[in-house]
Structures are given as structure tokens and as C-alpha cells.
Amino acid sequence: MTETLEYKGYKVENVAGGKADFYVYTDLCKGCGLCIAKCPKQCLKWSKEVGLFQTPAVEPDAAACIGCGACAMTCPDSAIRIERK
């Protein structure tokens, strides 16, 4: 537990009008798509990046995303983190 774990992924900066950053961890994302179905703004789409099982991960439309966190909450594997600034 002492050493810090490393996570691979990518981030989309300045979603929700520049109020938050959107992190996707490709080590954890299994490509189930529940976040896409749950998004209230329908602003998530499949990404060109691949997740754990070489299936597409997701990325938000930075202009449409409101940073509500519904995707992060419903993700079974905690692969999304929305960090408010």
C-alpha cells in the first residue's frame, strides 16, 4: 500500500465551461457504454482510445458537457473522474 499506483489514461480539459477536467482511465474502462446511456446531455461518444479489453473508451464533447458526474457515478469500474477546479 505504500507505493503509489500508476494509472494510464487521458484527460479532456476545461469541460463544463472551463469549470472541470474530465479524466478517463484506460486501465479500468471496459467499454460497457453505461455512461453514454446515462448522460443527461447525450454528450459522450466512443473515443479512438481503447480501454482494458481493446474496446473503445469514451470521451465527452467539452462544449456540451456540464460536469454533472452522472457518468462517473454509474461507471461500474470507476474509470471516469470529473475534477472540479
Binding site: 499506483l5 494509472y7 494510464k8 489514461g9 479500468l28 479489453f53 454509474t74 469500474d77 470507476s78
Partner: protein, 251 residues
């Protein structure tokens, strides 16, 4: 391109971060349920005295998911093992985690007797209306008309009987003064987490908690992301989502 991120994912403290991704299938409801359970344990700060027992089936893949004292039991025997632990150690808070097969088919005898005696423990029954690990056969909770591997023309209630409703059964036989019985769904994670919290508070006050969680199984239902949540809505219409008994769940 994917890079090493400095910010770690937002995992609950009671979740075992070292194992990386869980062993569940993509989109499995167990991940959502266990995340909510871990957050509820974190909120009450009872990580050090919680004992977690998991059953055979898909639910056994949770054996290293949580950073709690874990015991993995025989099929359907999670309930007696966990109330054995809580009887031997009155400080411990026992959580028995099982699927609908382990709770309502092979383990129903223990569920009935634990509910009648209202043992000091919390039972979490994850209901995904089929046997997931063996390939999606009909289970006691399969809905009428639902197609599974063993009911290819849909479940016929004339032949196979009506689906088992676990929460109603437990609410009818448990001691109403000290039992918290509820049914919740993975469609509302916040509500699920607060239901787990109420159940754990009831156990801290010496009561018996039973929480049935309506869950999803995209691989065996053969549904995509949108259809999975649609199926979950029909389940919520069939199985009533509410709190049947309150017990001593107020803090």
C-alpha cells in the same frame, strides 16, 4: 494518446486499489453495487470491524474487490457463516453478499431462518434475474416471458411458477421491530448508497438488514447499453422498489 495520469481514480477507501480493474464483465451491476457498498462503509467509518462474506457465482468475484476482512463460503452458505462470525465476535459487522441463486434458490433455507430469528447481520442480495456465471440459465427471479438459456421461448409461469420476490418474503417473516428490509436498484446509485447506509446503521443498532438490489447483466441478457437500462426499468415495474420495514435505521 493515453499517458500516465497524476490524479488517481476516485475509488472508495474500502475498495482494494491494488487489484486494478475488477474481474466482472463489462457493464456488470456488481461493480456499481460494490462501489455503493464501499462508499457506505466509508461514510460510517466501520472499515476496521466489517466482515464481508461472498457466495459462489458471479458474486464470488468480489473476493478481492473490497479492502475488508473477507471470507468466501460454500454456495448459499454465506448467511450462516456471517452470523456465526457476528455471534462469535459481537463487535463485528457482518455483510453477506450473494446473488439471487445463492439467496433464493440453494440458500433460501438459511435466509428464511436468519430472517425469522432476525440475526444481527446485513444481507445484500443482487438480483439480475438469471444465473450469470454459468451462462444465463433461468433463476427463481426470472421474469415472466423472459428468454434465458433454459427458457428459450420465454418463462412460462404455468410450468415454472411465479418469480420469487425475496424482499416481500423476508418482510413478511422478519421481526418488524429490528429489521430493515428494502429493495433498491442500480439505476439510482445515490439512493442505493443511502439504503446501504441505513442497513448498516440498523446492524450497528443490533438489527437484521436485508437489501435486494435489482442489477443488470448485459452479457447474458444480450442487450446493449441503452437496452440494458430499458430492461432494468421493466424490472423496477415488476419488482417494487421501496423500503418494506424500517427497523432501527435512524441514527
Amino acid at each position: 494518446m493515453a499517458e500516465v495520469l497524476t490524479l488517481p481514480p476516485n475509488l472508495p477507501k474500502s475498495q482494494n486499489a491494488e487489484v486494478g480493474a475488477s474481474k466482472f464483465c463489462p457493464g456488470c451491476g456488481h461493480g456499481i453495487t460494490l462501489k455503493a457498498l464501499a462508499n457506505a462503509v466509508d461514510e460510517l467509518d466501520i472499515k476496521q470491524k466489517t466482515v464481508f462474506g461472498c457466495d459462489i457465482g458471479c458474486s464470488l468475484l468480489s473476493w478481492n474487490y473490497l479492502d475488508l476482512d473477507t471470507v468466501q463460503t460454500h454456495h448459499g452458505r454465506t448467511t450462516p457463516v456471517i452470523y456465526g462470525v457476528t455471534r462469535a465476535n459481537p463487535e463485528a459487522i457482518g455483510i453477506a453478499y450473494m446473488g439471487d441463486g445463492g439467496g433464493l434458490a440453494i440458500g433460501s433455507q438459511h435466509l428464511v431462518n436468519a430472517a425469522v430469528r432476525s440475526e444481527r447481520m446485513m444481507i445484500v442480495l443482487v438480483n439480475n434475474t438469471n444465473y450469470g456465471m454459468t451462462g444465463g440459465q433461468m433463476s427463481p427471479t426470472t421474469m415472466p416471458g423472459q428468454k434465458t438459456e433454459t427458457t428459450p421461448y420465454g418463462r412460462d409461469c404455468e410450468v415454472t411458477g411465479r418469480p420469487a420476490k425475496g424482499a416481500e418474503m423476508v418482510a413478511a417473516i422478519a421481526n418488524p421491530e429490528k429489521s430493515f428490509v428494502a429493495r433498491s436498484s442500480v439505476s439510482n446509485v445515490r439512493k442505493l448508497q443511502s439504503t446501504f447506509k441505513k442497513g448498516l446503521i440498523n446492524v450497528q443498532n443490533g438489527g437484521f438488514s436485508f437489501i435486494e438490489v435489482l442489477s443488470i447483466c448485459p452479457l447474458n441478457w444480450r442487450t446493449n447499453n441503452v437496452d440494458t437500462l430499458e430492461r432494468l426499468k421493466t424490472m423496477e415495474e415488476f419488482f417494487e422498489v421501496k423500503e418494506f420495514l424500517q427497523g432501527k435505521s435512524e441514527q
